[in-house]
Symmetry: C2
Subunit: 331 residues, 2 copies
Amino acid sequence: MSSVVAVVGATGAVGREMLRTLERRNFPARRVVALASERSVGKKLPFAGKELTVELLEPKAFQGVEIALFSAGASVSREYAPIAAQAGAVVIDNSSCWRMDPEVPLVVPECNPEAARVRPKGIIANPNCSTIQMVVALKPLHAAARVKHIVVSTYQATSGKGHAAVEELRAQIAEIAAGKQPTVKVFPGQMAMNLMSDWKPGQHGYSEEELKMVNETRKILCDPEIGVTPTCVRVPVVTSHSETVHVQFHRPMKASEAIELLRGAPGVVLVQGEYAPGKEPQPLLAADTDPVYVGRVRDDLAVPGAINLWVVADNLRKGAALNAVQIAEIL
Amino acid sequence: MSSVVAVVGATGAVGREMLRTLERRNFPARRVVALASERSVGKKLPFAGKELTVELLEPKAFQGVEIALFSAGASVSREYAPIAAQAGAVVIDNSSCWRMDPEVPLVVPECNPEAARVRPKGIIANPNCSTIQMVVALKPLHAAARVKHIVVSTYQATSGKGHAAVEELRAQIAEIAAGKQPTVKVFPGQMAMNLMSDWKPGQHGYSEEELKMVNETRKILCDPEIGVTPTCVRVPVVTSHSETVHVQFHRPMKASEAIELLRGAPGVVLVQGEYAPGKEPQPLLAADTDPVYVGRVRDDLAVPGAINLWVVADNLRKGAALNAVQIAEIL
């Protein structure tokens, strides 16, 4: 059965990726509506060999819409998601606004597809990019041995901060190549050739991004006792987030067992073999592809029964647009 | 008392930094001899307002040398360090060749200066860059509460791989800015806008670099029971390594206590305050400076009594040349 689908925030980095994903996966849409704020109205966006004209995001825009994919930031979601749901659409929201609402399921189809069925507010939340790729890798291991404690360090791409951030990184690289001083506007400092923690402050010295990894992981894996130790770092990469993940379990796990569990796990591509320089998953190789790449699966040297992983995925695809469209597909 | 100092591998990235460090710290050298392999003989290197002419590395070059700073790779050190020691020099070796030899002390002056006194082979080893900055940060904490387990993820600069690697990164950035395909020779793939694990394979799925962090940390902190979980990653940064460090202790430690211990600790600059985007230590800010910058000191969210750190230092200075010269200074 085909649906009428609205993409809210269609001109943003994730919104554009949502349109590409709907097209690439031949999503059964009778009609696709591109919505955005006033300054983008009238813009043309390519879709399925034709063009969509961006329409104004306003309450009446949701008349007849069955699925509304939101990616326009938390404040837009807070205002318009209930309006879209009221109009009869199922909202799949990519912002952080509704994720921890107990009446809103937080869904990664490889992990908890059943949660999408119960949505009292008509809203399903799409998790944070850095969380999605980690839980896809952890799910088969958690099912087998129950995750107890994760220490995760991220290497996050600039596209997670939007179009303007990517443009600034590219501009800074051109400036450096030309021997000029890089111009800084979007980031709090020079991002090219540098590292940064540029998220909003959360609590207890953690960034909001880090606290999302703690809370969302527990909600998606349905286990409030999982301990998560997160450090989020931005790296001068355009696309794909990477993560080192140290995992301790309630029941000891060997790397050899983890490899068997990850081989063929939903959404996962296992990149295994002995350590070889440059043969592990890399952001450049993961960019513009769908899977979550898991490599460097190895027994921990200090904690018996713990393992270490290196997890890489395209943050705009599995980390955002693809996961949202996959949720729409299971509805 | 002033000495005759030889720098072996004087034309390399670390060798040049050693000359700059000797000059900057007004090291009491009666004479400085720059040694290198045949193809560099006759090159001129700036030193203290004059020029040093590179001389041939051969056994007789060590006649009269009192301190020999080696940074020409493990095979040169294996051959020439005993020759230099035999000729009466104290060798301070920056390669991995002698580090785990039980008759060779492995010294970070802020951690174990006393170890430099006992050197049966006449050789003192300078630890690996990624280890040095971590143990400088850990030492005051270890003294207070004994470190039990560390999970460390590195973000390592390209200069750790030498001149040619930095030149390749810069060339790739210029190629990307010009819309060309980046040329790959030194790295096993494109390094610009990417991440990589490009070290030699070690054992059990770990790289040699990672195993160095395990073994050297235990030797420097004189505690063979410290558990180390390392993941080493190369990032497209020119100078300064960065590390996320999760630390568990035998006696629980609060972040507030760690902050007091780190404030004013030898070699450490504490960058504290609430989390603020872009205000944490960064490789670009640490480059061309001496300290080990420690920031983001926070209580762990999952393990009571554990803390998390973000540690950044110039890998050519404290990570290599500065530490070697500091060892020479305590002799």
